[in-house]
Amino acid sequence: MAKAISLALAEEMERDPSIVVFGEEVAVAGGTYGATAGLYDRFGGNRVKDTPISEGVIAGAAVGAAMNGLRPVAEIMGINFAFLAMDQIVNHAAKIRSMFGGQFACPLVIRTTSGGGRQLAATHSQTVEHLFAHFPGLYVVAPSTPADAKGLLKTAIRSDDPIMFIEQATMYSERGEVPDDPNFLLPVGQSDVKRRGKDVTIVAYSKMVGVSLKAAQQLATESIECEVIDLRWLRPLDLEPVFESFKQTNRAVVVEESWRTYGVGAEVAARIYEECFDYLDAPIQRVAQKEVPLPYNGELEKYALPKPADVIEAVKAIL
């Protein structure tokens, strides 16, 4: 997936000279996870820039440069550090267009990583896409496959709006077919049915799509057919395919890597209740991380994170 991302960046930079890439270790080193590998050599130090470890000004410079005509793709090494840039992201990127009556555009992508599963302990393992998705004025997208990563990142870069592009850090080594077409774009705010099924609707995004697909595969051996829908975008949130599916299955499980309280599952479940109340055959299930700061110990960490067995259990609970 790291290659899909660097490919998307390179194709877009080739197309549009106003695109600049910057962040901690993105240039000379090619990115902490190799997602910007080769860009510095190809496009030079004027377009691909290393920054000091200063998340506030990384995000702020991105907003200022976007206001003044560039299309910055800023990288914040981890979403846990994005808290240090939270003010720029939610108070500036998300509001600069509306608060000045539309005078300023903010065509900006902030790429960052999220997720647990690497024994990095509590402050380096969070999956808080939903916090950013709370704010009107921002878009939030989190890909679940290398191909999606390429198509969605290219779309994000071409968008005239500020977008948080959030990559689950354990997925960089994931393999998959990626289209060569330099105009392969996936639309803003469109979710994607990743598996068809008639019995239960599973809604997930990012890494939890893979977890849900594994569960669905397992369940299929027991003749339980799950539909797996990848939200892709947390804002704008496209739930039409979810409602459509739910009207057939009458049952749903929402899977998220983060904590359930005030989370994506809460939002999706509430919308299903609002839109599909008459179709409801069972309470909507939420699979999420246990409500604790994630511990370092590998076994404890695994225990706290959602896995296919948790999804299977949730599906069976409502059949």
């Binding site: 506030g56 200022g64 440069a65 560039l70 720029q88 509306s98 000045f100 004025g137 709006d161």
Partner: protein, 320 residues
């Protein structure tokens, strides 16, 4: 400076003073809402510095932004309409007192999160540097902002990237109600620039010509590609931090001491010394009065934004 320029700048000072007094009155009448921070006393800082720029140089400031907005060439009409929350306001009634801006004038706004716009300024400057333009960015902020992380991150990045940015600290001695000595480990704020290897200078903010002179020097440095520059301008706000501030934290003697140095009175003397007849100055005062009255009338008669307007300007495409 030629005579026409002197007259123009004098009028700007007076327009700012009168606009602020009018805003104070309209606020007390309940016509202006929210937080409002007046620039009275600091006029020569904004006018002096901005007068040294080219029209393509960027200006960005904090929430005490009315004076800088006028110095950048915004009209009392666009400002007053914004104050009253009208559809004809510069930000369509969505920003208010703290969020005036006019992109066409390269005035990138008042910003109300202390210190955050220093980071925006680095981005503005970077975009111009990237395009190979010789435009500079003038970033105004109060001395209170020098204690926040953004200040240090922004000065450091600007120095590392040699950005064409002038950081202009308007040191008015108080961060809200707290005197600088109780909030900052050094009271000479420009010392902080030295930590980033950034050259600096200071000037008396009650003296328009002194402010203009140091800004010209800073602009020459920045345009030569020598990287950022820091200015500390010593000034004073006659009014409180914001409306409703009763000023118990400072004495009337202190306020009077500064008022004796009034920037408008000082610059008027410059005009008189240059042989400009008092009648010509009086005429400018009258024009300024007229401009403010016209701005208020325009704002009063302007329509409120339609309710449907809330769905616009959030993204490139309207929602809802």
């Amino acid at each position: 400076m030629d005579k026409a320029e002197m007259l123009k700048l004098y009028k700007q000072l007076v327009v700012i003073r009168l606009l602020e007094e009018k805003c104070e009155e309209l606020y007390q009448k309940g016509k202006i809402g929210g937080f409002m921070h007046l620039y009275i006393g600091q006029e020569a800082t904004g006018v002096g510095a901005v007068s040294a720029r080219r029209p393509t140089d960027n200006v960005i400031t904090a929430y005490r932004d009315h004076g800088i907005a006028l110095a950048c060439g915004m009209s009392p009409r666009a400002i007053m309409a914004e104050m009253l929350g009208k559809a004809t306001g510069c930000s369509k009634g969505k920003g208010g007192s703290m969020h005036l801006a006019d992109k066409r004038l390269h005035f990138w706004g008042g910003h109300a999160i202390v210190g955050a716009h220093l980071a925006l300024a680095t981005g503005l400057a970077w975009a111009d540097q990237y395009r190979g333009s010789d435009a500079a960015t003038l970033c105004f902020f109060g001395e209170g902002a020098s204690n926040i992380g953004y200040f240090h991150e922004s000065l450091n990045l600007a120095a590392v990237w040699k950005l064409p940015c002038i950081f202009i600290c308007e040191n008015n001695n108080y961060g809200m109600w707290t005197p600088v000595a109780r909030a900052s480990a050094v009271i000479e704020i420009r010392q902080k620039a030295a930590a980033y290897g950034m050259p600096s200078d200071s000037a008396d903010g009650m003296d328009l010509l002194a402010v203009r002179a140091v800004t010209e020097k800073a602009l020459a440095h920045v345009r030569a590609g020598e990287g950022p520059y820091f200015l500390e301008i010593h000034t004073y706000r006659y009014r409180g931090h914001s409306m409703g501030d009763q000023r118990p934290y400072r004495t009337h003697d202190e306020i009077k001491k500064w008022q004796a140095e009034d920037p408008i009175g000082q610059f008027e003397q410059v005009l008189l010394d240059a042989g400009i007849p008092p009648a010509e100055i009086d005429a400018l005062d009258a024009q300024a009065q007229f401009d403010i009255a016209d701005g208020v009338q325009y704002a009063e008669e302007s329509p409120a934004p339609a309710l449907e307007e809330i769905w616009t300007d959030i993204y490139a495409e309207p929602i809802g």
